[in-house]
C-alpha cells in the first residue's frame, strides 16, 4: 500500500471517531491589494461539530468560507479538507473534494433560470448519473420536504421569499450528502421569526446528517443557538475561540464590546 493511502486511511479512521479535524486551517493569510483581510487564521472542525465564525462586517468571514471551499486562493497557509491541502489545487481534483462539501451562499445564489426543483436536482444531475430520472425526482422531493419546501417544486426562485430561497439553497447544499457544510450568513436579511426557523432547521439537519459545519454570521443569537464553538475575528485575527460561556467570561475589550453591542 502506498504511504499516502495509509495516511489517508488513518485520517479517515481518526475522523470517524471524531478525534481528527475534518477541516483544518493553518496560518491562513489573504490580502486584497494593500488591504490585509486574514492574518494567520487557524481553526479546526471535527465531524458532527459546528463552529460559528463571528465578527464585524468586512472582517473577512465570508472570505474565509470561500477560501475553505476553494472559490478564492489564499496568499499563504494551508487548508486541509479530509487531510488534503486544497490551497492551489486545480479545479477538477478540487471538484472531487467539493462533492463532499455543501455551501449555502449569503443570497442563496439559486440559478434564476431554473425552477426550485431543478436547482436542487442540479448537483444530482452532474454527479449522480447512475440514478434514474424518477429516483432523482424522489430525492429532490425528499430534500425539499426536509427544508419544508416540498410544495414549491415548480416555482422560479424569483417567485419565493428570501427565507424560502435560503431553504432551497440549503436543500441544494445537502443534495450530495456532504460531510462538511459551510453556511454564509444563513439568517442575514431575514425577520426574527424566519431567522429562528432557519436556525432550527440548521440544528435539525446537523443532528440528522452528522456533518462538520462552519457558520459565518454576525448574529450572536443565531451563533449561540446552532454552534458548539465560536471564533471571533477582528482585523484579520482570531481574537478568541471557545464556547459561548467562555466568550462571556473573557476580559478582552473587543470581545466585551462585541457581546455588548450584539
Amino acid at each position: 500500500m502506498h504511504i499516502t493511502d495509509s495516511v489517508a486511511i488513518e485520517q479517515e479512521r481518526a475522523e470517524e471517531d471524531g478525534s481528527e479535524a475534518v477541516v483544518a486551517v493553518e496560518n491562513l493569510h489573504k490580502s486584497f491589494g494593500s488591504r490585509k483581510v486574514l492574518n494567520g487564521i487557524r481553526l479546526a472542525v471535527s465531524r458532527s461539530e459546528t463552529l460559528a465564525v463571528l465578527g464585524r462586517s468586512g472582517t473577512g468571514k465570508s472570505v474565509l468560507l470561500k477560501l475553505i471551499i476553494g472559490l478564492q486562493k489564499p496568499d499563504s497557509g494551508s487548508i486541509r479538507i479530509h487531510g488534503q491541502n486544497i490551497a492551489g489545487m486545480a479545479l477538477d481534483p478540487l471538484g472531487e473534494i467539493r462533492k463532499r462539501m455543501g455551501f449555502l451562499f449569503q443570497q442563496a445564489a439559486l440559478y434564476d433560470s431554473l425552477t426550485v426543483g431543478q436547482n436542487v436536482a442540479f448537483p444530482l444531475q452532474h454527479h449522480k448519473k447512475e440514478i434514474s430520472r424518477s429516483e432523482r425526482g424522489d430525492r429532490v422531493r425528499e430534500l425539499l420536504s426536509e427544508v419544508g419546501m416540498e410544495g414549491d417544486l415548480e416555482k422560479m426562485p424569483s417567485e419565493i421569499s428570501g427565507g424560502m430561497q435560503k431553504r432551497v439553497g440549503l436543500a441544494r447544499a445537502l443534495a450530495l450528502e456532504p460531510d462538511i457544510l459551510l453556511l454564509d450568513e444563513p439568517t442575514a436579511g431575514l425577520d426574527p421569526i424566519s431567522a429562528a426557523e432557519i436556525d432550527e432547521l440548521i440544528l435539525r439537519l446537523e443532528a440528522g446528517h452528522h456533518m462538520a459545519s462552519i457558520v459565518v454570521t454576525h448574529d450572536l443569537h443565531s451563533a449561540k443557538a446552532i454552534a458548539d464553538r465560536l471564533i471571533l475575528l477582528n482585523e484579520g485575527n482570531a481574537v478568541i475561540e471557545g464556547t459561548f460561556e467562555q466568550l462571556q467570561e473573557s476580559d478582552d475589550p473587543f470581545v466585551k464590546a462585541f457581546l455588548k453591542e450584539s
Binding site: 470561500k66 471551499i69 476553494g70 472559490l71 479545479l91 477538477d92 471538484g95 472531487e96 467539493r98 462533492k99 462539501m101 455551501f103 451562499f105 449569503q106 443570497q107 445564489a109 439559486l110 440559478y111 434564476d112 442540479f122 448537483p123 452532474h126 454527479h127 441544494r172 450530495l176
Partner: protein
C-alpha cells in the same frame, strides 16, 4: 499596460477553457441547448441581413456595372461578393451583436449574483459547463449561419435583378458561378468558425470576469459586442490574406 493585462488574462482564460473542454465529463446537454440558442435563434436575423445585403448589392452593383458597360458581369459580381466576403462578415457581425451581448449579459449576471460560484461550489467546472459549450456552439454554428446568409443574399440578389431586368434563376446561377470553384466558397465559409471562436471566447471572458452589480452587467454586455465585433473585423483582415496565400 491594461491592454496587455487584458490579453494575458484572456490567454489564461482560453487555456482553462481548452483544458476543461478536452477532458471528461462532457456537457452534451448544455452544448445542444447552446446550439439551439446560438444557431436556430440567430437564423431569422442572419437570413434577414443576408437578404438585405443581396438586394443592396444587386442595386448598387448594377448601377456601377451598367456605367462601365459590364452589365453581363452582374450575377458573377453578386455571387463572388456574397460568398467570398459579404456573407461571412455580415454573419460574423450580426452574431457578435446578438449572441455576444446575450452571452456577455447572461454570464455577467450569473457572476454578480454568485451563481457561477454556486456552480463551482457544486463541484461542476464552470469553464466546461458555461464557457466551453458556448464557444463550441459559436464555432459550429457560424459556418452554417453563413451558408444561410449566402443563400438568402443570392436569392434576393437574383430577385432584385430579375425585377429590374428579367433573368431566370437558372441563367443567374449559371452566369454567377461560372469560373467559381470550391475554394471560393469553402475557405471563406470555414473562416467564420474562427469568428465563432472570437465571439464566444471574448463574450464568455467578459461575462465571467465581471464585477460591480448591474453597472458591471451592462458594461460586460457592451464590451462583449464592441470587442468581439472589432476582433471579428481585424481577424477577417488576417484570414483574407491567409486564404489568398494558401488558396491562390
Amino acid at each position: 499596460m491594461g491592454f496587455l493585462e487584458w490579453f494575458g488574462d484572456l490567454g489564461v482564460f482560453f487555456w482553462q477553457v481548452l483544458r476543461a473542454a478536452v477532458t471528461p465529463p462532457f456537457e452534451f446537454r448544455e452544448l445542444f441547448r447552446q446550439l439551439d440558442d446560438i444557431g436556430s435563434k440567430s437564423l431569422p436575423l442572419v437570413a434577414a441581413a443576408g437578404a438585405a445585403i443581396g438586394v443592396v448589392l444587386s442595386l448598387e452593383t448594377r448601377d456601377s456595372l451598367v456605367r462601365f458597360g459590364a452589365k453581363s458581369m452582374l450575377p458573377t459580381a453578386i455571387v463572388f461578393s456574397v460568398i467570398r466576403e459579404m456573407g461571412p462578415i455580415i454573419t460574423g457581425l450580426i452574431v457578435s451583436g446578438r449572441v455576444g451581448a446575450g452571452i456577455g449579459a447572461e454570464l455577467a449576471s450569473m457572476k454578480v449574483t454568485e451563481q457561477i460560484d454556486a456552480i463551482e461550489a457544486s463541484a461542476v467546472n464552470p469553464y466546461r459547463l458555461l464557457a466551453a459549450t458556448r464557444i463550441l456552439a459559436c464555432i459550429l454554428m457560424l459556418p452554417l449561419l453563413t451558408l444561410a446568409a449566402d443563400f438568402c443574399a443570392l436569392t434576393m440578389g437574383w430577385i432584385a435583378q430579375a425585377l429590374a431586368e428579367p433573368i431566370s434563376l437558372h441563367q443567374f446561377i449559371n452566369a454567377g458561378f461560372r469560373g467559381a470553384n470550391f475554394t471560393d466558397l469553402l475557405p471563406p465559409t470555414l473562416k467564420t468558425a474562427v469568428f465563432g471562436l472570437i465571439i464566444g471566447l471574448i463574450s464568455c471572458f467578459q461575462g465571467m470576469r465581471t464585477r460591480g452589480g448591474a453597472e458591471g452587467v451592462g458594461r460586460a454586455a457592451m464590451n462583449s459586442v464592441v470587442l468581439s465585433s472589432l476582433f471579428v473585423i481585424l481577424g477577417d483582415v488576417v484570414l483574407v490574406k491567409f486564404i489568398i496565400i494558401v488558396f491562390p
